[in-house]
C-alpha cells in the first residue's frame, strides 16, 4: 500500500520593528535578561496595550506579497492559558477577524513549480523564554521576548513531501527577508516553524489523523522531522494501529519525534474579543500606500532576470539570493551591457570574496560601477580576462578604480603586434630544444610557448595576438 503525506506548516515570524507590539520596549535580541521590559509587557496589574502601527504595516506587506485577501475589519482576541513566560496568562492574538486570509505562494523545486495555499496571516505577541534546569528544581524566566511582534502564517495542508515543505519554508523565508520585515534567523528564533502532518493511502480523499510537530530549529531539521514522522505514521498504520492526534517534539540528537501526550492536555483557550483594544480598519488607501512601497519579490525578480538579461535560471537563482546582491548585479549588468559576463563575475569572484571574508553583500568594497568598468576594460581589450582577476583583487584591497590600477601597475594588455612579435622571437630563440620537439610533432608544446610569452610579458600580452603570431612564426620555422 502506498501512502501519501499531507503536510501543513505554521510559521511564526518576528517582525523587525524597533519597539514591541503593545509597548515601547526595544525588540533587540540578546539584551541582558529582563532588561527590555516595562509594566505593560510584564503584565503588571492595571496596564493596557497600545498597538504599534508598524506591526500592522508589516503584516499588510506580507499579506500583499502572498496574494491574501486583507480583512478590512481587524480585531484582536485573548488566547488564555497559563505558562510562566506568558505574563498576563493570556496572549493577545487574532481569532475571528485576522489580518488576511486565502493567499498563496509559488514554490520551486526539482525544476517544477507548485502553488501552496495560505490559510491565514494574523498578528500576535510573542511570549518570553523559559529556561528549564536539566538537573535542577527550577525554571528561569526571561521576559525580554514577551511582546515582540509576530505574524503567524498558516499554510493550507497542500504539501505532499518533506522536500515540498522545505521549499515552502525557504520561499516564505526569502519573501520575509526581501520585504525587510523579518531577519529570518531560525537560530535566534525570529523564524519558527511547526508542522502538521498526516498520511493517507494514495488515491484516497479523506485526510488521516494528524500530529503536530514542534521544536524544529532549522530547515534541515524540519525536513528530517517530517521524514521521520511520515515513516512513523506509515509504520503505525501498517501494523494495524491508529495514529493519535497529539503534539510531538522533534529530538534533533536522537532524530526521532517524542509524544507530549500525557504531559500536555488539549488546551481550551477560551478565545474572546480583546476588550482593551479597538478594531483596526484597513482602508484601501492604507493598502495602496503599502503596496507602493513593496519591493519586487524574489520569484518575480528571478523570472525578470531570465527574461530581461537572458541569463540561465540557475544564475538568476544565485543572484537573487538577497535583494542587495540582485541590485548589485543589475548595476553591473546595466553599466556593461554584458549581463552574462556580469553574472559570471558576480557569482564568481565577488561571491567568493564575500564568503571568504565573511562580509555582508551590502559591505562589498568594490562598487558595482567599478566592477562594471573593469568588465568594460576586458571587453574593449584593455586587459585580458586573466589579468582582470588581479585587477579585481587590487580593487577589493585598495578601493581604487580599475583604470587607475591598470595604469599604476602597468597591466594594460599588450596588443602591439610588433612588441609581441619581438617577445615571441626571444622565446623561440631561448628554447631551441622545445622548438625542435615541436617541429618533430609534439604539438602540445604550443601551450608552453604561449606560457613563456606570457611570463615574459607579465601576463599582459593579448592572448589572441600571441596565438596568431606564434602560429605564424612556428609555421614559418
Amino acid at each position: 500500500m502506498e501512502y501519501e503525506p499531507i503536510i501543513g506548516l505554521e510559521v511564526h515570524a518576528q517582525l523587525l520593528t524597533e519597539s514591541k507590539i503593545f509597548c515601547g520596549c526595544s525588540t533587540r535580541f540578546g539584551a541582558a535578561p529582563n532588561s527590555n521590559t516595562c509594566p505593560i509587557c510584564l503584565g503588571m496589574p492595571g496596564v493596557l496595550p497600545v498597538l504599534n502601527r508598524t506591526v500592522v504595516e508589516y503584516a499588510i506587506k506580507m499579506a500583499l506579497a502572498t496574494h491574501c485577501r486583507i480583512n478590512r475589519v481587524n480585531s484582536f482576541a485573548r488566547k488564555n492559558y497559563f505558562y510562566p513566560d506568558l505574563p498576563k496568562g493570556y496572549q493577545i492574538s487574532q481569532y475571528a477577524e485576522p489580518l488576511a486570509e486565502k493567499g498563496h505562494i509559488d514554490i520551486e523545486y526539482d525544476g517544477t513549480r507548485k502553488t501552496i495555499g495560505i490559510t491565514r496571516i494574523h498578528m500576535e505577541e510573542d511570549a518570553g523564554k523559559s529556561i528549564h534546569e536539566d538537573d535542577g528544581d527550577y525554571t528561569y524566566v526571561d521576559l525580554n521576548r514577551t511582546g515582540v511582534p509576530l505574524i503567524e502564517i498558516v499554510s493550507e495542508p497542500d504539501m505532499r513531501s518533506p522536500a515540498e515543505g522545505a521549499a515552502y519554508l525557504r520561499r516564505l523565508h526569502e519573501i520575509l527577508v526581501y520585504l525587510e520585515i523579518c531577519d529570518g534567523n531560525m537560530e535566534e528564533g525570529s523564524f519558527r516553524c511547526d508542522a502538521n502532518v498526516s498520511v493517507r493511502p494514495r488515491g484516497t480523499e479523506t485526510f488521516g489523523t494528524r500530529a503536530e510537530l514542534k521544536n524544529m530549529n532549522s530547515f534541515r531539521n524540519v525536513q528530517l522531522a517530517l521524514d521521520y514522522e511520515i515513516e512513523r505514521q506509515i509504520d503505525c498504520l501498517e501494523s494495524g494501529e491508529t495514529v493519535i492526534q497529539e503534539t510531538r517534539l522533534w529530538d534533533a540528537q536522537g532524530r526521532v519525534t517524542h509524544s507530549m501526550r500525557g504531559k500536555e492536555e488539549a488546551h481550551d483557550y477560551r478565545y474572546f474579543p480583546e476588550p482593551d483594544l479597538v478594531p483596526v480598519m484597513i482602508s484601501d488607501n492604507w493598502i495602496n500606500d503599502v503596496k507602493r512601497g513593496l519591493p519586487e519579490l524574489p520569484l518575480e525578480k528571478r523570472d525578470r532576470f531570465v527574461r530581461e538579461y537572458g541569463i540561465p535560471s540557475y544564475d538568476a537563482g544565485v543572484l537573487t539570493a538577497s535583494r542587495a546582491l540582485a541590485d548589485y548585479f543589475e548595476v553591473v549588468a546595466k553599466v556593461t551591457g554584458q549581463p552574462k559576463t556580469a553574472s559570471n563575475w558576480v557569482m564568481g569572484s565577488v561571491l567568493a570574496s564575500v564568503k571568504e571574508e565573511k562580509i555582508e553583500v551590502e559591505k562589498i568594497p568594490v562598487s558595482p560601477d567599478a566592477l562594471g568598468d573593469m568588465i568594460i576594460a576586458i571587453v574593449d581589450g584593455t586587459i585580458s580576462g586573466k589579468i582582470a582577476k588581479d585587477v579585481f583583487d587590487a580593487m577589493w584591497q585598495t578601493g581604487k578604480s580599475p583604470r587607475v590600477i591598470i595604469e599604476e601597475k602597468g597591466l594594460a594588455q599588450i596588443d602591439d603586434t610588433g612588441a609581441v612579435d619581438a617577445v615571441v622571437n626571444e622565446v623561440l630563440i631561448a628554447h631551441p630544444m622545445q622548438l625542435a620537439e615541436y617541429q618533430a610533432g609534439k604539438e602540445k608544446l604550443f601551450g608552453f610557448f604561449v606560457g613563456q610569452v606570457m611570463k615574459r610579458t607579465q601576463g599582459k600580452a593579448n592572448p589572441q595576438v600571441v596565438n596568431d603570431i606564434l602560429k605564424k612564426k612556428l609555421s614559418e620555422q
Partner: protein, 95 residues
C-alpha cells in the same frame, strides 16, 4: 442541573484553582443557581444582533514605532517572589 461536580473540577483546573471537596460542593450548588438564573436570556430574541464587544465606536488607535525607556531588570524583578537577580525563578516546568 447546569453544571456537574466533575465540570466544576475541570473548570477549576482550567483556572488553576484548588478546591476542597466541601468547596466543590458549595461551588457546584452556587454555580447551578447562578447559571440557572442565566436561562432568562434564552427568552430574548437576538437573531441578527451584533454582539457588543466595546462600549465605544473607536477604531485605529495606534502608536508610532518608537522605543521608550524600559524599567530595567532590577525594577522589573523587584516584586518577584523568587529570582536570582537576573531571571524570575519558579518551580521547574515538567515538559
Amino acid at each position: 442541573m447546569k453544571i456537574t461536580k466533575k465540570e466544576v473540577e475541570y473548570v477549576a483546573h482550567l483556572a488553576r484553582l484548588d478546591c476542597s471537596e466541601e468547596e466543590k460542593d458549595i461551588f457546584t450548588s452556587q454555580l447551578n443557581d447562578i447559571l440557572g438564573y442565566m436561562d432568562i436570556l434564552n427568552t430574548v430574541e437576538t437573531a441578527g444582533v451584533e454582539p457588543m464587544n466595546h462600549a465605544l465606536s473607536l477604531e485605529n488607535i495606534l502608536r508610532e514605532d518608537e522605543i521608550r525607556e524600559s524599567l530595567g531588570a532590577e525594577r522589573a524583578l523587584a516584586n518577584a517572589p523568587d529570582s536570582d537577580g537576573e531571571y524570575f525563578r519558579v518551580t521547574r516546568v515538567i515538559d
